[in-house]
Amino acid sequence: MPLERWMWRSYLRAAIIPLLVIELSFLAIYWASSVIVYHQNVYAMTAVARRQMAYVAHQEGHIIATDLDGFAHATAFFKQQTLAALDTDHVPSAAVKERFGPGPKGSYQSLYDNGTTASFYANITPVGQREIQKVWNLSRLDPIMPGIAKSDPRIAGIYLNTPYGYSLVYPYIDASRQIPPDTDVTKYNFFYEADAAHNPTRKQVWTDAYLDPAGQSWIVSVIDPVWREGKLEGVVGIDVSLKTIVRELRNLRLPWNGFAMLVSREGAIIAMPPKAESYLNLRELTDYSYTHAVTGDTFKPAEYNIYRREDMRGLAAAMKRAPSGLAELKLAQGPHLASFSTIAGPDWKLVVIAPEAEIFADAEATRTRLYTIGSLMALALLGFYAIFFVILLRRAQAMSTFVAAPVEEVSRMLEGIGKGRYEQTFGGSAIAEINDLGNHLVQTGEALGAANRTIMEQESVVSEALDRQQRLNARLLSFVRLVSHEVRTPLAIIDSSIQVISRKAEAMTPEGLRERAGRMRNAVKRMSNMLSNLVDGMTTLNEFHEGGAREREDVVDLVGNACRDSEAGPRLKLDLPPRGAIHEDALVLRAIVVRMLRAAALASSSDSTIDVGVTIGEAEASIAVSFEGPSLANADFSSLEQKNFDREAFLKVPEDQVNLFTAGGIAHDMGGEFSVSVQGSRVTATARMPVTMAETHE
């Protein structure tokens, strides 16, 4: 993994991820807190809203009840005036009498409007003197009824209906046109809801909303039965237009953008403001086009009854259970909270409905604010971390470069050391550990280099020793093979002679036998000489074999020591230069010098002098041994070099010459030269060997 990526991951693990986790934890806590606060707010506001809604329904219901109570009082007053008018006969003025006369199809009615009431008998009742007298008696209500109606502009009308077909109405209506002559008012709700069957307690009754047959559009009425001497004389009533009620509802000051509606005992929506229309998908019935006479009860359709509406089931159930209360509604516009209270008197319900969205608007606004703040915090956090990431990424890049450069340099150094470039340099690093590593690596490289050089030197020494050993082994093998061959040849001669003698002894002459014996002796002598040379050769090989590691030695010291140990020591006359020439293999040089000295000792007379001289050249030391050797005067040293390489010839070298041949062989094998010169009886053997100069001589 590259260093940059590793550092980046380390940053992520060590700094960014923990920070991010902490920040996200805080954010999560914030969000959780916001949610909890929101729900607590909703919970608290729900309680407040429910109380407020209940209070509003109750309060506004009370206000409406108070308003309606005025209509009830007016009705009660009108009832008392009616009873009073019925108690005593009355003779009206001529003008009153004159306005009352027969109508169409047997009805009897007021003929024109004099600014007061309209009255008529339907043709279901024969009109006699008694009926006329009632008209006259009740005519005393003519000035009262307008007074009552005008006392409150919300009063749409005031009337008296009797079970025997007589009706007295204000404001004036054209009965012949608006009311069928055979109308039976007892079949209308504004009458029968107050009769004995429907109202046994004979109290005032508020009707549901209905279509006024007298042309006052959709209205509600407060009606009151007029009982006299145990007989229902009639039903008085005051009409209140739905427009008026709706206006009242619209004027209610309701919280949370709510709306209110009035619901009858049977669940019918008596009145509702325009706002409720869209919520309930209804249209309020306030006006009516009277293209023809209304001949019966006309109530609002079933969809105006909340007991029959699916979306109002909860509210309906609550309203049936208790006079006041709360209910939650699921309208098309969303969840709503409804409260209701019973209006004393008409026993209606005032229902106040408010959307929960409005109720919880503050809580929702608070939640929205918290959400916005949270979102901004998250955004800020995101931005912060984006910047933090970029900064850390750049920092990681910079630090990786800062660290990687010396590390790569260390790597290159290691590679170089691995490839044998032990002398390394390190540019240094500001990081102490890497700096120490680099410097230690430099030192290690130097130590390895030194060790390697030592090993190489040792290897060289070992290799040379091995080479030498191999050469010696090969020479030994060659020697053994040669000896085997050379010994077999004289043996073959001897054996041949023995076979000849064995086969032909009887036929051989003494001279022939002596000749055979001479042959055999010569062969034995040949074998003896060969064995001597063999011993010398084997000795030399053994010396090399046991010589061990190569040792350097000053040539002058070596020659001096060899002379000191020589059997001819007293006869030696040395001519040695200053020390300073070093031969790399003291064993070899000693073997050469020893053999030269031995040859001189053997070949010279015991009283003669042997001269030993050393001459140091530029890269060569010349060692010369000169002596009087009469036995060698006729020796053939001209082919010395060839004989040195010809082992067979070497074995045939005479005994008194073998040391010189051995010395020459060794010298040649070890890269030197060897020569023997003979002048008269004076023999001079010279070995020239490569040397290196000691530092003091450089």
């Binding site: 085997s484 010994v487 040849t489 043996l491 073959a492 001669i493 054996d495 002679s497 086969r503």
Partner: protein
Amino acid sequence: MKPRILCVEDEDELRCDLTDELREANYDVVEASTGEVALESLLQQDFALLICDLQMPGISGRELLQRLQREGDRYANLPRIVLTAFDDMPLRQDLAALGVGKVLVKPVDYDELLDEVARQLAGRA
């Protein structure tokens, strides 16, 4: 007609005894003290058998055998017996490759030699 044998040996005394034994065994023997002399004799005469030493000055016995081998069919039917002071398996394999029918190690038993000569000549016939 006596079979003619070329006997190549650099040791004079040994060569004399060898030729004496062969002649007494009724063979026609031509002597050669060196490889060069042997080659000259081979060019001049036909032989029924070649007996030669290996270790000789000048042209060695092995080189002589190699030259005969290079002549191809001319000496293909010439039986060859080698007398040598060396004795090892690589040498015997080397000599067998050069057409040598028998290797006798010095010192040589003359009875054995004569038996082998007779066997080689019989095989040639």
